[in-house]
Symmetry: C2
Subunit: 318 residues, 2 copies
């Protein structure tokens, strides 16, 4: 099939591009390279089935022309920096909500009927039920990022109702693995690279989260997409496990063979709007036959291993 994939130079996007090309699909990738890395597309550029469109998704008129004879849109482009929302309160609205509206408009105007969307476990806010099922009670948002992803989900659902589209919405926990470029492992590694004897940790280290390996993430998305046919298909994606920030710190330090002094900012949240306990119920997608293969510890170790071999990602240059 012919696929448009937004955010194709990002962590999840570039891995997904490689996955699709390997399966023989034709991929048009769109990325403004603001946080995406062109190096992540090195393998993709070897394929005649891949085209990169270097455009900002806010400028719909610059790229709507590529939405012709497309079978599926995989919309992954997003501002993914949750904790910085408080400093840039309109960024998530623009990069996530308005961009998603643009992508949906490209689809509507070209009668493209299928979209896969990367949502987030943050959308549940401080969930009333843990592990949190997809039909948990009406959420209250705690971050601009969560609010923007909620807005995207609502828009996608309304487009599905209005224009006979189909959507597959995946609410991810944090993703780990090769090409990981932001999040706590990145931050800790960067700190330890500049000072191996001290590590500063936001919160009290007891924030409890769940993580999914990038390979499981992609297999989960593709499994959910291939096995469901409702108008709106929503799935949590994660593992049946969680860990504390302190566990993750220990695994990172072990992988780096370091024993830094740990300093904590304190409090049960790492930042304003942080959710102290994220653990998603994955029984809905499990019931249709998907199981993650990697443990959280595997994911942390793979991420550290990737970083060791790719310290250029810390240089802010591609």
């Amino acid at each position: 099939m012919k696929v448009i994939l937004t955010g194709c130079a990002g962590f999840i996007g570039s891995n997904f591009v490689d996955f699709l090309l390997e399966k023989g699909h034709i991929v048009i990738g769109i990325d403004n390279l603001s946080t995406g890395k062109i190096n992540f597309l090195n393998e993709a550029f070897d394929s005649k089935n891949f085209t990169l469109i270097n455009e900002d998704l806010l400028n719909i008129n610059n790229y709507i022309k590529y939405f012709k004879n497309i079978d599926l849109v995989i919309h992954l482009a997003a501002n993914a920096d949750v904790k910085d929302g408080v400093n840039y309160p309109c960024k998530d609205l623009e990069q996530n909500t308005i961009v998603t509206s643009n992508v949906l408009e490209c689809m509507r105007q070209n009668k493209i009927k299928k979209i896969i969307f990367s949502s987030t476990g943050s959308i549940y806010g401080e969930a009333t039920q843990i592990p949190t099922p997809e039909n948990n009670s009406f959420p209250i948002q705690t971050s601009m990022y969560g609010a923007s992803k909620l807005a995207c989900e609502g828009l996608i659902q309304a487009y599905c109702e209005a224009y006979e589209m189909q959507s597959w919405i995946f609410r991810f926990v944090s993703i780990l693995g090769a090409r990981y470029t932001h999040g706590h492992v990145y931050d800790f590694y960067k700190q330890l690279k500049s000072n191996p004897s001290n590590l500063f940790i936001l919160g009290n280290g007891k924030q409890t989260k769940s993580y999914l390996h990038i390979k499981d993430c992609i297999s989960g998305v593709f499994h959910g997409y291939s096995h469901t046919k409702q108008k709106v298909n929503i799935f949590n994606l994660g593992v049946n496990d969680y860990c504390q920030v302190n566990d993750s710190v220990r695994w990172i330090c072990e992988a780096l063979n370091l024993n830094p002094k740990l300093n904590y900012s304190g409090g049960d949240k790492g930042w304003i709007g942080d959710i102290p306990f994220i653990f998603l119920d994955i029984s809905k997608i499990s019931k249709i036959g998907w199981t993650p293969k990697f443990s959280i510890k595997d994911g942390i170790e793979d991420t550290v291993s990737f970083m060791k071999k790719n310290e250029w990602i810390f240089e802010g240059r591609t």
Copy 2:
């Protein structure tokens, strides 16, 4: 107190302005008069405590200067035409979501801490529980309007978390009464004015909805605002009753002393994205001492009575 009220020339807005002025508050009303009627502000203009700012809320730079020393923002401005969303898919995003982001930015930049927001029962989509409580399961949107209001709620909640604001979010059923200018009573009255012997009804007439009188709506909002102090306070507002479109048609025809032939478009929905059964659980606000005074039939009759005296509202001119 000094209040900014957006959508001040609208149905709910103008009634709210009169209510606030009567209580002695100072009101700065903002309206672009796109659907609002300047005539609705005739009483307000008699008060020295009222100022109208005729600006479009999309143009933040034109009005942010009025957000000085404000105690409370009542944000009612919105595109309220639910059924037309399918024809103008970006209108709700702009008029509701982006405008709400602008209003929140005006508040943040001027350290204004309190906002009342008019949300909607449509936000529950096709609710899993009827009557529908505020904490019903995670909703799936069926209209651009619902999606945009969901986005607004999320934004407001995230601003409350990030900037120590407080919000009072009210999810209304449809509102009836003096200054009503859109919705099924308006549509039916307009039809019957041009042809008293025929009435065309969208759907099968069995769509089941709940309605609230404008006076109860305002008393409910003010009661909720006055009696709760959480960071985010969310209330359904409606009556403990519902009716079918056919009941409403009968009451309208009786009030007009007409007996038209009824023609139906058929199907259980009036339009794409219509929700066939809306009935909100109001026990949360009831528990803190609020009860609606008007029945649905009272509301329909008051609306027809207003229209009889104000047929100018059908002329598309103020």
